[in-house]
């Protein structure tokens, strides 16, 4: 009987979706030649697809609900996801880590410079993801204008190089600083806003920066952008394209390690804990003597710093930049990396970046559906797995048993 009702439900759902997608997916009118094209096949696909998926959907929702119930019922020992369990086992992750390391080192020699280039791009997004992760994942500030700082970094290299001939290495830290500066500049006034307002204001800032870059020719050369930005130099010796690519790749690997190192230390520090506490409960957090604005600002500025740094690399890698590369969609993409990976989790963000950036490159079939999948990922992750692929586990601290005067207060 139950089965039957389930089937009926799914049947109606599939009907509903066939109805829903009818005008957009089935009909296509060519208003120029006045032809209507009927694509009934799509309707069939939708019908079958939604029929099957509705089962999965309901099943997943149900099991999610069950888990929540159990958690509320007190026995909160939620089963760790496979990924987590794996990551906890030293005998698994140690060799895995070594393997990954070796693979990373060998990569440019195993594959063509094109592959290396793609991987470099992916690594750039890993860095961006980790940077945004500080802001969104740890401090819980939804920043939809992250790309603005990315642009700041890129343009600071392009312009400093154009006007003063400063080299990559000189600008890398400068770009980071300028990024941080803008982070503070923009962050200071808006950080007292509530979560979703903050999101919108940051989005606004992102757009403002882009529009200024587009309009202020004297400063940024407008939409036609800046070309012939030099690639990073290696003690002034001339690198061939391939060498330059490999060099950039290793540079990125190094920077990623650096980023991971820093973010990891920050997360387990006094500051990091303050961020997380802030995300969990603002008022309580302040009541614990934590300065809200200062803490938020640190997170915002640090995130911006990373964006700025990657921006410099971006400019050096593409050798050409224009405002078109810094749209809201870019911000959304970085956000979806963090979301997919798991807010606050470093491993997660890395995986997220690799999956989202590499898959469309290699599975060419997807490339047209790239953004579609991004959108879907964000929704599905939020609905079914808000904590991301890899849950962010709380660190267990080592504490010394100390002689407390007399017996504990509670017997």
């Amino acid at each position: 009987m139950k089965i039957l009702s389930e089937f009926r439900k799914s049947f109606f759902i599939s009907l509903w979706f066939m109805f829903l997608t009818f005008p957009i997916l089935v009909i296509r009118v060519n208003t120029i030649e006045k032809i209507v094209e009927w694509r009934w096949r799509n309707m069939a696909f939708i019908g079958i697809g939604s029929f099957l998926l509705s089962f999965v959907w309901r099943y997943l929702l149900a099991s999610k609900e069950r888990v929540r119930k159990r958690a509320e019922a007190g026995e909160g020992e939620e089963v760790k996801p496979i990924s987590q369990r794996v990551l906890d086992e030293p005998w698994v992750y140690r060799p895995a880590l070594v393997a990954v390391g070796l693979f990373a080192l060998a990569f440019p020699f195993l594959f063509s410079s094109y592959q290396t280039n793609i991987m470099t791009t992916a690594l750039m997004y890993v860095m961006l993801g980790l940077g945004l992760n500080i802001v969104v994942g740890l401090a819980g500030l939804l920043d939809l204008g992250y790309v603005a700082f990315y642009a700041v970094g890129a343009y600071s290299y392009a312009l400093l190089n154009y006007h003063f001939g400063l080299g990559f290495w000189a600008v890398l830290p400068v770009g980071a600083l300028i990024g941080a500066f803008f982070g503070i500049l923009l962050g200071f006034p808006v950080l007292r806003l509530r979560g979703d307002y903050l999101a919108i204001v940051t989005l606004g800032f992102g757009e403002i920066i882009r529009l200024i870059l587009e309009n202020w020719n004297e400063f940024s050369f407008g939409p036609s952008g800046i070309a012939n930005i030099p690639r990073p130099g290696l003690f002034g010796l001339k690198l061939s394209l391939h060498e330059a690519t490999v060099y950039l790749y290793f540079l990125m690997v190094a920077l990623c390690l650096f980023t991971i190192f820093v973010v990891n230390r920050l997360r387990d520090s006094r500051i990091g804990r303050a961020w997380i506490a802030l995300r969990e409960d603002e008022v309580a957090c302040q009541a614990m003597g934590i300065d809200k604005t200062k803490t938020k600002l640190t997170a915002f500025a640090l995130g911006a710093t990373w964006a700025g740094m990657v921006g410099v690399i971006f400019a050096a890698k593409t050798t050409f930049i224009n405002p078109a590369s810094f749209t809201f969609l870019e911000s959304a993409m970085i956000l979806s990396i963090v979301v997919l990976g798991g807010m606050g989790s470093i491993v997660g963000v890395i995986l997220g970046a690799l999956i989202l950036i590499l898959s469309p490159e290699y599975l060419r079939a997807f490339s047209a559906y790239r953004m579609l999948l991004f959108g879907m990922t964000m929704v599905l992750m939020m609905v079914f797995r808000p904590q991301g692929i890899v849950t962010n586990v709380r660190r267990i601290y080592k504490y010394r048993e100390r002689e407390t005067d007399g017996k504990p207060l509670q017997a």
Partner: protein
């Protein structure tokens, strides 16, 4: 002087357009405190369905007002359906989730719908027939304002009034207010919160669809991306006026429209949007609740 007047009227049209879409944003926010990012896409889908319906109808030999009416009906129908479905899929499962989750899910939905239309239809701009018949009595004033523009302004005004009355007096409206005040309380007093929320989405989407038809008629072309641009602006308007308040949305829309119009008229349209966003940022910094919004004191 009449330059000023023209800018004023131009701004009025623009503002009404923003306001019309902003109403949907503000209603949804009022009920579940969610920035429904996908609202702009609902408006876009409304416009597309209207276009498709209208073309099919005209090709089957129908003309005049009937096309406008039928196309609008179809658009409203589908936009509401989409709004309803989006809520069920992307927001309903996230009722207990932390604040950011539904917002992110909304952004995802918006990107998804954009690309859904892009892939299913086309990336090019499609010409949109002006479905609104020219009103003869507007002829002498065509210098200042066309019939389409007039219709848009009037529609916005009417929509606002009707909506306000609806929420004040009807049963559904009262239920909405209750839910907005305190969801759990409303639930206790026997309000079916889920239905209320669905209703909100349906009404908001319907408005967006009407907006879609009118605006597309005014602009004359649509593509998959119009929702995003209009959405951001409309949202800015909603926040400007104090999100959650219906008159606020309209006021915000008008303020935004006039800001842009006069900024263009007296300064330059190069930085049109910069002005708009700066306005938003300033308002939020100095009056976070917006122009007409009531600031909610944090409970401890």
């Amino acid at each position: 002087m009449d330059y000023f007047l023209e800018l004023l009227l131009g701004g009025l049209t623009r503002g009404s357009i923003y306001a019309l879409i902003a109403l949907g944003y503000t209603m949804v926010y009022g009920i579940i405190e969610l920035i429904n990012f996908a609202h702009g896409e609902i408006y876009m889908i409304g416009a597309f369905t209207a276009l498709i319906a209208a073309s099919v109808l005209t090709m089957s030999g129908m003309t005049g007002l009937s096309v406008l009416v039928l196309a609008t009906v179809v658009a409203v129908l589908y936009a509401s359906a989409y709004g309803f479905t989006v809520e069920k899929i992307a927001y309903k499962p996230l009722r207990q989730a932390p604040r950011l989750s539904p917002l992110i899910s909304a952004i995802g939905m918006s990107i998804f719908l954009q690309n859904y239309v892009l892939l299913a239809q086309t990336s090019d701009f499609l010409p949109f027939p002006n479905l609104i018949p020219a009103l003869p009595f507007m002829e002498p004033y065509s210098q200042l304002m066309g019939s389409t523009e007039l219709v848009i302004v009037l529609t916005t005004a009417v929509a606002t009034v009707v909506l306000t009355l609806f929420i004040k007096f009807t049963k559904i409206g009262k239920a909405m207010r209750a839910t907005a005040q305190d969801r759990s309380m409303a639930m206790l007093t026997g309000v079916n919160v889920n239905r209320v929320i669905s209703n909100t989405f349906i009404i908001g989407s319907a408005l967006a669809a009407i907006g879609g038809v009118l605006i597309a008629s005014h602009v004359g072309r649509i593509n998959f991306y119009i929702g995003f641009i209009a959405g951001i602006k409309a949202f800015t308007a909603a926040v400007l006026g104090g999100i959650g308040s219906i008159p606020g949305a309209v006021l915000g829309g008008l303020v935004l429209g006039w800001t842009e119009s006069f900024a263009t008229g007296y300064v330059s349209s190069d930085y049109e949007d910069v002005f708009a966003f700066c306005l938003l940022v300033l308002i939020l910094i100095f009056r976070p609740a917006g122009l007409l919004g009531r600031s909610t004191a944090q409970k401890v």
